[in-house]
Structure formats: C-alpha cells, structure tokens
C-alpha cells in the first residue's frame, strides 16, 4: 500500500499533464485527486504497522540483496502523512492564488511539479535502499529547482539557478558517498549495510563516505555554512511553493541524514560518527543563532521566514546530535511543528501578497483591521514557532531540550533557549505591527475584506493543527518515542 502512496502522485503527474493539455481549467481539481488518494491510503496504513517495527515491501518480489526494499516505520509514515497533508493544502491554496505569480503557459508545469515533488518526497522517506534514496532525492531536487523558477521573472530564475548550482554538486557528492559505501561493503540495502559496516575493514573510506553524506545532505537541508541558496530560493518562490520547500523539502533532507546516521551508520559502530556529530552540533548551534539574528534584521516578510527556517534547521539537527530517544523524538516532532507553522506563515505571507501585493514587514502595520482571519492564523503559527505552551512548538522544544539535557550538552540547551528568545523577538515584532500599530492612512480598509475562503481554509487548518498537536501530543509522541528507541 505504501508503494501506491508513492506511485499514485507520479502517475497522477502524468495524467494531470494530459488534463492540462485538454482541459486547462480542470487542473486545480484534477491535481488534488492523486494526493487525496495517497493520503487516504496513508491513513489506512496507520494501524497496520507493528508498533515495534516496520512494514517491509520487496519490489518485484526479489529478496533483499537483489531487489529494492521499501521500509515504512512510524517515523516514515508520520512524514508521509505530513507530506500528503501539506501538499493538499498548498494545492487548495494555489487555486486562487497562483494566477498572480504564474502565467497560463506554465500552469500545467506547476501542478505537475507539485505532484512530482510530493511523490518524490514520499518515495525518499519510504525507501530502504540507499541508491533508491538518491533517485528520489533527485526527483525532489529537480522539481524544486523548477518550482522556484516557475514565476520566470529574473529574480526567480536567478534564485533557482543559484539553488541548482549548489544543489547539483551536493547531489554529486552524495553519489560519491554512495560509491564509497558500496566499495567498502558491497551492498546497497540499508539494513544489510548496517550489518556490514561493523565488519568492514575499510575504516577511512567509511568515515569519508559519512562526511560526504553529511556535506551533501547538509547543502540540501541548509545546514549553517551551506545555507547560502536558501534565503533567495525560499523567499522568491510563489508562496505555496515556499511553504512546501520550507515545510517539507528541508525537513525531508534532514530525515535523509537521520536515516544515514541512525539506520546505516548505527550509533553502535562506535566512535565512527561521534566526531562528525560533534562538528554537526556546533554548526547546528551556529545556525540557530545566525538564522535568528538574520531573521531579526530582515525587512522582507518572506525573507525573514526563510532565515527563520535556517534557525529551525539548527534546532532539528541539535535533536539528532543528542543521540537519544528524546532528542530524536523532539527532532521529528519539530519537523511536524515547523512544517505546519512555517507553511502556515508562508501561506499568510501569500495572502498579504494576494490582497496588497507587498511583502515588506513595515507595511503590515494595522493589517488586522482588513485581514483579521489571516492575522490571527499568523499569530497562532508564530506562537507555535516560538514555542508558547499550548502549541506543538512547545512540545517539540521541550523534548529537544530534554534530549540535550540527558546527553549532558548544557551549551546546546542554552543555545536552544537563546534561539527561542530570538524567535520571540522576530515573531512578536510582526505581531506587534499587525495588531497594535496604526496603519498608514488608507493602507487598509476599516472593514474586514479578507482573502477568499479557498485560501483561508488551508491557512486555518494549519494554524489549528499546530494547536491541536500541542494539546493532543499524546496521539503521536508515544509511537515516535518507541520508533526512536528502536533506532538508538
């Protein structure tokens, strides 16, 4: 069933391109169908995964070293459902919004690329074969390059080209890492690799391969010194695309590192990974602070959100490098929380662009008079991003800090708290502008004239979800803790 979750969006992409040729105005509806179908399949999968393990699916009925294996555990399923949900909401939001930024001749490509992106992300997450991981990573990468460039003005294409010129070498580096891993072990299946790495005599090659993986995925996930492409790409892309890139693509790249670090180079292999993980933690901490400070300095709303993504990537990495179940759970839950909250905020930014056509933070003064619904949703998401108690952000940060306390990394605990403080500064500044500052004369109509419901509903679903997952974290956390405990 997991296989259909992955292949239905891919098939759907092809069918949607034909629909786009024959009946262009069916596009927004047609694109929903495959993602809806795979979402339903994902929900049906929830009960079927044994709580202490994973579903393994052998493609083409070939046994493990010969064929490719899909491996869906709770961590993967959790992310796959998040991908379906965010993809669907972004598509619903796009129907009215996207005509503002994308011309008619590119509309088919837009919907097809979103479907390919979601399919690729799900394939990436579910894969149990390290080369298959690479193949789906490339689908994700190529479709995100295309999506960044889709508005086809000079800024967008510049950002996309920059993204490509950093992303493509990163892919090559990962390919080289796979080559070294294969050279030292002679296998491509993750479970088999984990067994063989312990016995392999080629230590230097294994270390080099791990470093290459971290560098490659680090570029894709915008780890601190490798983040240069992110601010432009995430702020210039159309808002639903920014939501997907910030909320999913970056997270899933981190999940790639998680898979490599925990499932392939298991922590049991000894101090093979400890040196690199220490370095990683330092970079992540630097990223938290750097992203926060830069976000504070921005004047452009979407640029600020993009820098805040860099900061939150740092959080998730700090959870991974704690090397215990709490830290890992915190990281996974923070992926969920950041995905929902950041997507919501980017969609809100899209609403401001849709109504007013601007994106500077200063212009938001007094915005709540005209757009109360958007502003309140933005506020909820901002609370979650900062980590105010009833929201999901609080829970995830709690676990992140707990994990780091358990690991004895007090420095990183301080960094996490400092990052939250910075987050509070840059989020509440906007909220202050929105709610408590008088707007310029005539900038806003005194009576509410918000965006149409097809755009408000996705925003509010996301905003409510951040609160929901904060109040009812018991639904997800135990299974995450269990799955994380298995990996450690």
């Amino acid at each position: 069933m997991a296989i259909f979750m992955i292949t239905l969006p891919l098939l759907g992409a092809v069918l949607v391109s034909i629909v786009g040729y024959l009946k262009p105005h069916w596009l927004p509806w047609g694109a929903l169908v495959p993602l809806l179908a795979s979402g339903v399949l994902g929900c049906m999968l929830i009960g079927r995964i044994p709580s202490d393990g994973y579903i393994s699916y052998h493609l083409g009925n070939w046994s493990v070293p010969l064929g490719i294996e899909l491996r869906v555990d709770y961590l993967a399923l959790f992310l796959m459902l998040l991908i379906c949900a965010l993809g669907l909401l972004a598509l619903i939001f796009s129907r009215r919004y996207i005509v503002k930024e994308v011309s008619a001749g590119r509309m088919t490509a837009y919907y097809v690329l979103i479907l390919l992106l979601s399919g690729g992300l799900m394939g990436f997450v579910a894969s149990g074969d390290i080369f298959n991981l690479f193949v789906f990573m490339e689908i994700v990468a190529l479709s995100s390059y295309g999506l960044v460039a889709i508005s086809a003005n000079s800024r967008a294409v510049r950002a996309a080209l920059r993204y490509l010129l950093m992303g493509a070498p990163a892919s090559i580096i990962i390919l080289l890492g796979i080559a070294l891993l294969y050279m030292a072990t002679g296998s491509l299946n993750m479970a088999e690799l984990a067994g063989r790495i312990g016995q392999s005599g080629y230590r230097e090659i294994l270390i080099a391969s791990f470093v290459l993986f971290v560098v490659g995925f680090g570029v894709k996930a915008a780890l601190f010194p490798l983040h240069l492409w992110l601010p432009d790409a995430h702020s210039i892309a159309p808002s639903p695309v920014s939501a997907l890139l910030s909320g999913l693509v970056v997270e899933v790249s981190i999940f790639g590192i998680l898979r490599i670090a925990y499932s392939v180079f298991t922590p049991h292999v000894g101090n093979l990974t400890s040196a690199t993980s220490n370095a990683l933690a330092v970079l992540a901490a630097a990223g938290v602070i750097f992203g926060g400070v830069m976000a504070l300095l921005q004047k452009d709303l979407k640029l600020m959100l993009a820098y805040s993504t860099i900061s939150h990537v740092g959080y998730i990495f700090l959870g991974l490098t704690a090397f215990n179940a709490e830290g890992l759970t915190g990281a996974m839950y923070h992926m969920l929380d950041h995905g929902l909250a950041k997507a919501c905020m980017f969609l809100c930014a899209g609403s401001f662009i849709y109504i007013k056509g601007f994106r500077r933070i200063e212009d938001l003064k007094g915005a709540w008079r005209q757009m109360p619904w958007t502003c309140f949703a933005f506020g909820l998401a901002a609370f979650s991003l900062v980590g105010i108690p009833p929201t999901a952000g609080f829970i995830s940060k709690w676990y992140l800090i707990l994990g780091n306390v358990k690991a004895g990394n007090w420095v990183y605990v301080v960094v996490l708290l400092l990052g939250s403080l910075l987050g509070a500064f840059y989020c509440f500044r906007i909220l202050y502008y929105m709610f408590f500052q008088p707007g310029k004369e005539g900038a806003w109509t005194p009576r509410p004239a918000d965006v149409p419901p097809s755009m408000l509903i996705p925003i509010w679903i996301l905003a409510v979800a951040t609160v929901f997952f904060g109040l009812f974290s018991g639904l997800v956390i135990p299974s995450l803790l269990k799955a994380a405990g298995l990996l450690i």
Binding site: F131, E138, L142, Y145, A152, A160, L164, S171, Y182
Partner: protein, 129 residues
Amino acid sequence: MNLSHNYLYAAAMLLFCIGLYNVIVRRNIVKKLIGLNIMETSVFFFYISLGYTRNGVAPVAGAGADPTRMVNPVPQVLVLTGIIVAVGVTALALSMVILLHRKYGTLDTDQIMRMARQEETQAAREEGN
C-alpha cells in the same frame, strides 16, 4: 604503492577536483555547467572503475562467458541513473541560462549580480516614493 595501482581511482578524483574548481571559480554560467558535467562524469568513472575486475569481460552472458570473470554490473546500473540525472540537470540549468540571458544579455554571474543589485535599489527607491 597503492596509489599507482589504483590509478583509475586517482584519475577520477583528479577530474572531480578539476570539475569542482571550475564550478567554483568560473564566472561564466555555461562554463560552470561544463565543470558540473565534468564532476558528474568523473564520479561515474569512479563507479565504473570500482566495478572493474582484472581480465574481466562485459557482463553479457551467452557465447559461453564465465560469470566469475565478468565485471560487476551493479555500478553500471547505478551510473545509468547518474547519466540521466546529469542530462536532466544540465537541460534545466541551460533553460534557466537562456531565460537569464534574455533578461540581462550576459552570461557572466558577476555582471548579472551587479545588474540585479541596481534593479533592486531602483525598485526600493520607487517603493519609497
């Protein structure tokens, strides 16, 4: 010594570095992309030499070839993927280059950045008014 024995690996790594240098240093985008392709082919070269066996034959059965003498087919399959990726990325990047050239009339990254900065300051000034 091992380095001279593994000379194919060494050559692949050397080509990788040449490609990387070109990607970093060249200002012309097309040259950057040529460097990117050199990097990619060097990694493929590495894969294939890693699959080679001494006195090996191509992994095609029939004509009584001996499976124990054949070279490793797995890296070859993986490289096929890599070639596809290389073509795809190059096509996408070149289409972006064409579009950028339409807007700016140059392929030089520094010039493009300069013109872009001018554009932005102008836009900011207009917004200020």
